[in-house]
C-alpha cells in the first residue's frame, strides 16, 4: 500500500494551519474555536448574573443591563454554549482529532469535505457574533425561539438579530451534517485491519452514535427553521394561528431535535470518561457490550421523549402521560451505563491525575443532574418546576459536566498527544478544585431558588413580592460570586495550557501507558499519522491482564 504522498510537500503557514485538510488541524481548529466561544458564553453569563445579583447597577466591562439586553444575553449564552462550545469541542474537536488516530488510518475519508465543514462552521460563528451587535440588538426570544415571538419583529423588536441568529444556527447544523457524514463513513470504512466493531474504543462509538442521532433528529428542525426564516423575512404565516398556522408546531420540531441533542453531546463526553477511567484505574472497561448497547438504546429512546419539555405548553394533557413514561424509561439505560462506569473502578489501581479527577467529577456531578431530571420528567411535578431555576440548575448539572468537565477531561488527557508535551499536574489540580467547588456553589443555590418558584429569564425580581426577599437575594449573590471565582480560576488553566505548550516536559509517544491506537503514533502525530498503518490484535481496554509483565497491552502489539 502506497504511503501518503501529501506529507512530502513543504507547506506554507496558510496551507498548514488555516486551509489544511488534515483531520488533526481541523480538530484543533474546532477545539480552539469552541474554547474561544466558551469565553464569549462565559462573559454573557457573567453580565446577566451580575444584573441578577446587583439589579440596575452598571456591570464592570459592560454597563447597565436593559431588559432587552438581558433577554439577548440569556438567549445567546444558551445558544453559544450548546451549539458553539459543547458540539465543536466534544464532537467536532475530539471527533476529528481522535477518530482517524483511534481506528488506525491516516485521515478522514473526505478531507476536503471536512475542511468545508469547518469553514461553514466558522462562518456561522461569525454570524452569531455579528448578531449580537446589529441594530436592535441580539435575538432575545430564548434559545428555544418559540414563535410568534421569534417569528415577527413586531413582537421581538430585533429585526436583524432574530434572522441572523436563526441563519447562524442553521449553518451550524449544515456544518455538523457534513462533518457527521464524514465521521460515520470514516468509522464504518476506514478501520485498520483487525479493528472489528467490538474493538473500537468506546469514545469513537459514542461519537458515531451521537452523530447518527444528530443527523436523524435535526432534519425536521432544519425544515422548521426554513419556515421560521420565511415567517421572519418574507412574512409568511407558518406559525401564525390567525392565518392558519400553528405555533405549537415549532415547539414540537424544536424539541424533537432539542432533546436528542442532549444525548448528542452527552454520549461523547461519556466516551471520554470511559477512556480516562480505564487508563488511570488500569482496568478493563466493565461490560463493554452493555455500555455500547445502552448507548444505542439511549439514542433510540431519545426520539420518544421530546414533549416532556412541553407538558404545560398547551399540548393535549393525555399526551403528557405517554411522554412521562418514555422519559422515565430513558433513565434505565443511562442508569445501567453509570453503574457500569462505577463498577469499572472496582479492583482498580486508581491514580488521581488531573484528567482522572475530571472524569470522576463528571460521574459525581452528572449523578445529581440525572436524578434531578426525574422531577422534571414526571409531568405533575413539572407543572410547578417548569421554567423555574430548578430546570436551570438541573440542566447545568448535566451540561456543565458534559461540556466543561468532559471537555477538560479530554483536553488534559489528550494534550500530550495533541502537542507533544505534558501539562503541569499541580496547576491542573488547582484549576480542577477551583472549578468544581465554584461550580457547585453556583448551581446548588439555584435548586433552592427554583423550588421556591423563581422563574427563568427574568431581568429583575423586584416586582415579585415572594421572590424579592433578602434571603433569596443572598442566594443570588452567592451564585454570582461563585461564578466570578470560577471564571477567575480559568486563568490558571489558560496559563497552564500556554506554558505547557511552550515548555512542558516532552511527552513521548505513550505517556499514560494506554492501549488505544492514537498512543502508537508519535506525539504530535505527523501528517499521515502512523509511520506504518497499524494492525489491531485485541480490544482497547486490556489493562492488567494476568500473566503479563506490563499492566497494559496496546491494541497494535502482536502476540
Amino acid at each position: 500500500m502506497a504511503q501518503t504522498v501529501v506529507a512530502a510537500h513543504p507547506q506554507t503557514f496558510w496551507q498548514r494551519y488555516v486551509f489544511s485538510t488534515d483531520h488533526k488541524v481541523i480538530g484543533l481548529q474546532y477545539l480552539f474555536t469552541g474554547m474561544a466561544m466558551a469565553v464569549v458564553g462565559a462573559f454573557l453569563s457573567y453580565v446577566f448574573r451580575m444584573q441578577l445579583a446587583f439589579p440596575g447597577s452598571a456591570v464592570p466591562l459592560y454597563g447597565v443591563v436593559t431588559p432587552g439586553a438581558y433577554n439577548a444575553l440569556v438567549t445567546n449564552h444558551g445558544t453559544i454554549m450548546i451549539f458553539w462550545v459543547a458540539m465543536p469541542i466534544l464532537i467536532a474537536g475530539f471527533g476529528n482529532f481522535l477518530i482517524p488516530l483511534m481506528i488506525g488510518c491516516d485521515d478522514m475519508v473526505f478531507p476536503r469535505l471536512n475542511r468545508l465543514s469547518y469553514q461553514v462552521f466558522f462562518l456561522s460563528t461569525v454570524l452569531i457574533l455579528v448578531s449580537l451587535v446589529v441594530p436592535g440588538g441580539g435575538f432575545g426570544g430564548a434559545w428555544t425561539a418559540y414563535p410568534p415571538l421569534s417569528a415577527s419583529s413586531q413582537y421581538n423588536h430585533t429585526p436583524w438579530g432574530a434572522p441572523l441568529w436563526l441563519v447562524a444556527v442553521a449553518l451550524e447544523f449544515v456544518a455538523f451534517l457534513m462533518g457527521g457524514i464524514n465521521f460515520v463513513t470514516t468509522v464504518m470504512n476506514a478501520r485498520a485491519p483487525g479493528m472489528t466493531p467490538f474493538r473500537v474504543p468506546i469514545v469513537v462509538w459514542m461519537i458515531v452514535i451521537a452523530t447518527v442521532v444528530f443527523m436523524a433528529s435535526v432534519g425536521p428542525l432544519v425544515a422548521g427553521a426554513v419556515m421560521l426564516l420565511f415567517d421572519q423575512v418574507l412574512g409568511t404565516h407558518f406559525y401564525d394561528p390567525a392565518a392558519g398556522g400553528d405555533p405549537l408546531l415549532w415547539q414540537h420540531l424544536f424539541w424533537f431535535f432539542g432533546h436528542p441533542e442532549v444525548y448528542v453531546v452527552l454520549l461523547p463526553a461519556l466516551g471520554v470518561v470511559a477512556e480516562v477511567i480505564t487508563t488511570f484505574a488500569r482496568k478493563k472497561l466493565f461490560a463493554y457490550k452493555t455500555i455500547l448497547y445502552t448507548a444505542i438504546a439511549t439514542g433510540i429512546i431519545s426520539f420518544f421523549v421530546w414533549a416532556h419539555h412541553q407538558f404545560v405548553a398547551g399540548i393535549d394533557p393525555r399526551m403528557a402521560h405517554l411522554f412521562t413514561i418514555t422519559t422515565l424509561i430513558i433513565s434505565i439505560p443511562i442508569a445501567e451505563m453509570t453503574f457500569a462506569f462505577i463498577a469499572t473502578l472496582y479492583g482498580g489501581s486508581i491514580a488521581l491525575t488531573t484528567p482522572m479527577l475530571w472524569a470522576l467529577a463528571f460521574i459525581a456531578e452528572f449523578l445529581l443532574g440525572g436524578v434531578t431530571g426525574i422531577f422534571l420528567g414526571a409531568n405533575a411535578t413539572d407543572i410547578f418546576l417548569h421554567d423555574t431555576y430548578f430546570v436551570v440548575a438541573h440542566f447545568h448539572y448535566t451540561f456543565f459536566p458534559i461540556a466543561i468537565i468532559g471537555g477538560f477531561a479530554g483536553i488534559t488527557y489528550w494534550f500530550p498527544k495533541m502537542f507533544g508535551r505534558l501539562m503541569d499536574d499541580r496547576l491542573g489540580k488547582l484549576h480542577f478544585w477551583i472549578t468544581i467547588l465554584a461550580f457547585n456553589a453556583i448551581f446548588l443555590p439555584l435548586f433552592v431558588l427554583g423550588a421556591a418558584g423563581e422563574h427563568r429569564r427574568i431581568w429583575s425580581y423586584a416586582g415579585f413580592a415572594q421572590l424579592a426577599t433578602p434571603e433569596f437575594q443572598t442566594l443570588r449573590v452567592v451564585a454570582t460570586v461563585a461564578l466570578i471565582v470560577m471564571l477567575i480560576g480559568q486563568v490558571v488553566f489558560v496559563f497552564n495550557f500556554v506554558r505547557s505548550l511552550v515548555r512542558g516536559e516532552p511527552a513521548g509517544t505513550n505517556p499514560w501507558r494506554a492501549n488505544t491506537l492514537e498512543w502508537a503514533a508519535p506525539s504530535p502525530p505527523p501528517h499521515g499519522n502512523f509511520a506504518e498503518p497499524p494492525t489491531v490484535y485485541r480490544g482497547p481496554y486490556e489493562y492488567s491482564v494476568p500473566g503479563r509483565e506490563l499492566d497494559y497491552w496496546p491494541q497494535h502489539v502482536p502476540g
Partner: protein, 196 residues
C-alpha cells in the same frame, strides 16, 4: 467499478471495512439525513392539510397536468441516470456522459415547467402570502427544486469527468442522489396536486 481511485487520496478513503464503497456509503448517509428534512416538512404540511379542509380548494388551483408531466419527466431522467450508471460500469465513460447529459436535459425541462407553473400561479394571485397552503407549496417545491439544481450542477461536473474516463464511480453516486430527488417528487405530486 473498474477503475482505480486516484493514488493521492488518503489511505482512509481507499479502505472499505464495511464492504460498501466509501462514496456510496456517504451517499446513503446523505440520503438518510435528507429523508428527515423532507420528512419533517411533509409531516408538518400533512398535519395542517388534514386540519384545514378548505386547503382542498386551494390545492384545486395547482396544475395537476403540469405536475403529472413533471413526474413523467423526472421518471424518464431517472431512467437515463441508471442507464448512465450501466454504461459507467462497462467502463464506457463517453456513453455514461451522454446519458447524464440526457438526465440533465430532463432536469432542465422539469425546472422550466416548474418556473412556468409558478409564474402562472403568482399571476393569478396564488402567492406565498395568500395562505399557509401556498406557503407550504412554494417552500416544499422550492426546496425540492433546489435539490434539482444541486443535482444538475453535480451531474454536469461528473459528466465532464466521465467523458475523459475519470472517476466513473461517481456516475452511480450522482445517480442515486437523482433517484432520491425523483422519489421525493413522487410524494410531492399526490400531496400537492392530486389530493383535493
Amino acid at each position: 467499478m473498474t477503475h482505480a481511485i486516484e493514488a493521492t487520496t488518503p489511505l482512509a478513503t481507499r479502505r472499505s471495512a464495511s464492504g460498501v464503497p466509501t462514496g456510496r456509503l456517504a451517499v446513503w448517509w446523505l440520503l438518510a439525513s435528507e429523508i428527515v428534512i423532507f420528512g419533517g416538512l411533509l409531516a408538518s404540511y400533512l398535519m395542517h392539510r388534514l386540519h384545514h379542509p378548505h386547503w382542498a380548494d386551494e390545492a384545486g388551483h395547482t396544475n395537476a397536468i403540469a405536475g403529472a408531466f413533471n413526474t413523467f419527466v423526472l421518471l424518464t431522467s431517472s431512467l437515463f441516470a441508471v442507464l448512465g450508471h450501466q454504461a459507467a460500469e462497462r467502463g464506457d465513460g463517453r456513453g455514461a456522459a451522454r446519458y447524464l447529459v440526457f438526465t440533465i436535459g430532463g432536469g432542465l425541462v422539469f425546472l422550466a415547467v416548474k418556473a412556468w407553473e409558478w409564474t402562472g400561479e403568482i399571476r393569478h394571485g396564488f402567492t406565498i402570502f395568500r395562505d399557509v397552503f401556498w406557503a407550504y407549496y412554494y417552500t416544499t417545491t422550492g426546496l425540492h427544486g433546489l435539490h434539482v439544481v444541486v443535482g444538475l450542477v453535480a451531474m454536469a461536473f461528473v459528466a465532464t469527468e466521465a467523458r475523459r474516463g475519470r472517476n466513473l464511480h461517481r456516475v452511480e453516486l450522482v445517480g442515486i442522489y437523482w433517484h432520491f430527488v425523483d422519489a421525493v417528487w413522487i410524494f410531492l405530486f399526490p400531496l400537492f396536486y392530486i389530493a383535493r
